[in-house]
């Protein structure tokens, strides 16, 4: 039902992002999607990757704060109104979107969503006729 998102804490200083991408490249981890949330002092890099467990372990060993979070990967068609379909479902049930970002990679099209209540959101979107990617499917 959920996919594992890799989150990494990075300070706003030179070269940190480069180090994260280098570690992932060296470990042969593919980045399917990415979003960066930033403040003036630090940022949180959120990624959907091909091997989240390995990526997390390696980054932690390299001294980064990294964690895995369950998020929804909601399949969306490439057409007008598709995103609204999803937000409308969530909104109707009073579910908040903490953050979201798009994924369009390896033939997959999805909106990565962290909702205030993940379980309820998963049920709501599937009940509403939308499909979710599972973790294995995503990483394959």
């Amino acid at each position: 039902m959920f996919v594992k998102q890799l989150s990494v804490f990075i300070e706003n200083r030179e070269g940190r992002l480069e180090q994260v991408t280098r570690v992932l490249a060296d470990e042969n981890v593919n980045i399917l999607s990415l979003s960066m949330a930033d403040t003036t002092e630090y940022g949180v890099l959120r990624m959907i990757v091909s091997d989240p467990e390995k990526a997390r372990a390696t980054l932690c060993a390299e001294g980064f704060s990294a964690m895995l979070t369950d998020v929804l990967a909601v399949r969306l068609e490439d057409r007008v109104g598709e995103l609204h379909r999803m937000t409308h479902i969530l909104c109707a049930l009073g579910l908040n979107v903490e953050y979201m970002y798009a994924l369009a990679s390896s033939g997959k099209r999805a909106m990565i969503v962290k909702a205030s209540d993940g379980e309820a959101a998963a049920k709501a979107v599937t009940d509403g006729g939308l499909a979710l990617y599972g973790n294995e499917e995503m990483c394959r």
Partner: protein, 432 residues
């Protein structure tokens, strides 16, 4: 002008006799009234009769902040609580405050000492004096306030916080004197310029203390404001501000020797040092009733000069303080120990994360930033979660030290470690 010529200008012989007589009484008093002291003296086989004058001073054991902590809150008081008219408290190293108590007579003596210091700064009865130290448990505000009242000038109890209001009143009330920390006075000077009222102020003199500062800073204050600036010293355990201050000759701070018997000792061997040699200041409170202290180690570094001063006072002078023997920081006049920050972090996180305190002075105001390394259990994928975290840490530290603090989250292992232990403080302020 000298506030109390009889006491401040007596011959050294007379003064030392007076100190001796008072010391004998002090030792007798604490031996009979304070169990803790009695046990300490018994432990080294000392009876009150063994102390016959100041020549016997070094037979007595030292007192430290640890003794105050061990007897928290009132264990070292030498009178029943019914005779204590006021308490003050300063931050302790591990969360618990150091509590000090005063009898009515102690408050009188304290006010007298502050009155002497204000007079040393050339201020008198017809002056209007703003006290811009914090009022409350901190001894600065109320201590200075009572001194101004005792001296007979008009006191304006500003406390700290609203600098524009302070400047407006400075202009409107025709304020001629101010007592505050030196860094705050420099900040006030900036606000005066911003408000464009430089030619409307009538300030003549300032009495500054409660934080380390330099001769250069004193000159800067004098030039910027066109006033005389004086250094005042004190510590709450001993009394509060007014233990010592400098006269118009600025050759060190006259210590009120009829009430406070000073020694300067080597901080490691604890052996008394000659005049001019820098060491730890040790004070015995000769007249205090509420919380008498025998050979209290101040942890402040200075040297002493017993030669007469051109001003006519015969009291010994302490050189400008050069630092501390411990890791205590003085930030905006508030005593801060890194261990307090550590304890606050421990309380919040369950373990102590690596942290670094960065003290700086921006526009003449001290700032404290605490960098905290991200660790397992801290991290969140949501910015809101991280902001909550830094907010909670800031709040916890603020509760512990009584100072606003900026918390910055940093990556794991990004803070410097030296010799396996991390360095916890970077003080970027310059005191020279």
């Amino acid at each position: 002008m000298i506030w109390n010529e009889t006491k401040e200008c007596m011959s050294r012989d007379e003064l030392e006799n007076l100190q001796g007589a008072r010391l004998v009484k002090l030792v007798d008093r604490v031996y009979h009234n304070v169990e803790y002291y009695r046990k300490k003296m018994q432990a080294v086989g000392l009876l009150p009769g063994d102390i016959r004058g100041i020549g016997d001073l070094d037979k007595l054991p030292f007192t430290t902040k640890d003794d105050l902590r061990a007897t928290y809150p009132f264990g070292l008081f030498a009178v029943p609580l019914s005779q204590i008219t006021r308490v003050h408290a300063s931050s302790g190293t591990t969360g618990k405050a150091t509590v000090v108590g005063y009898t009515r007579h102690d408050i009188d003596v304290w006010s007298e000492c502050v009155a002497r210091c204000i007079t040393m700064a050339g201020l008198g009865k017809s002056d209007v004096i703003q006290v811009a130290y914090g009022y409350g448990l901190f001894t600065g505000g109320l201590g200075a306030h009572y001194g101004v009242e005792k001296m007979g000038a008009t006191v304006v109890p500003m406390s700290t916080g609203n600098t524009k209001k302070l400047v407006t009143m400075m202009v409107d009330f025709g304020v001629t004197g101010i007592m505050c920390t030196p860094s705050y006075l420099l900040h006030i000077a900036e606000v005066i310029d911003e408000m464009g009222v430089r030619d409307k102020i009538r300030l003549r003199a300032s009495i500054n203390g409660a934080e380390p500062w330099t001769e250069k800073m004193r000159q800067q204050i004098e030039e910027r404001l066109g006033i005389h600036s004086h250094d005042i010293y004190g510590l709450s355990e001993v009394m509060g501000p007014g233990v010592a201050a400098d006269c118009s000759f600025h050759r060190g701070l006259h210590i009120q020797e009829d009430h406070f018997l000073p020694e300067v000792v080597d901080q490691h061997t604890l052996k008394p040092l000659r005049d001019g040699m820098t060491g730890e200041l040790v004070i015995s409170t000769l007249t205090k009733e509420g919380l008498p202290l025998i050979r209290y180690r101040t942890k402040d570094l200075t040297s002493i000069d017993h030669t007469p001063c051109e001003c006519g006072r015969t009291t010994a002078r302490l050189a400008r303080f050069t630092g501390r023997t411990d890791d205590m920081l003085i930030i905006r006049g508030v005593n801060v120990f890194p261990s307090q920050v550590e304890a606050a972090l421990l309380e919040m996180a369950g373990t102590t994360p690596h942290y670094l305190m960065i003290v700086d002075r921006v526009d003449n105001l001290d700032t404290l930033e605490v960098q905290v390394e991200m660790q397992e259990g801290f991290f969140s994928d949501e910015i809101r979660g991280l902001e909550n975290l830094s907010g909670r840490i800031a709040h916890g530290i603020q509760q512990a030290i009584g100072l606003a603090v900026k918390v910055k989250l940093v990556e794991p292992k990004s803070l410097e470690r030296s010799d396996g232990k991390s360095r916890h403080v970077i003080d970027k302020r310059t005191f020279d």
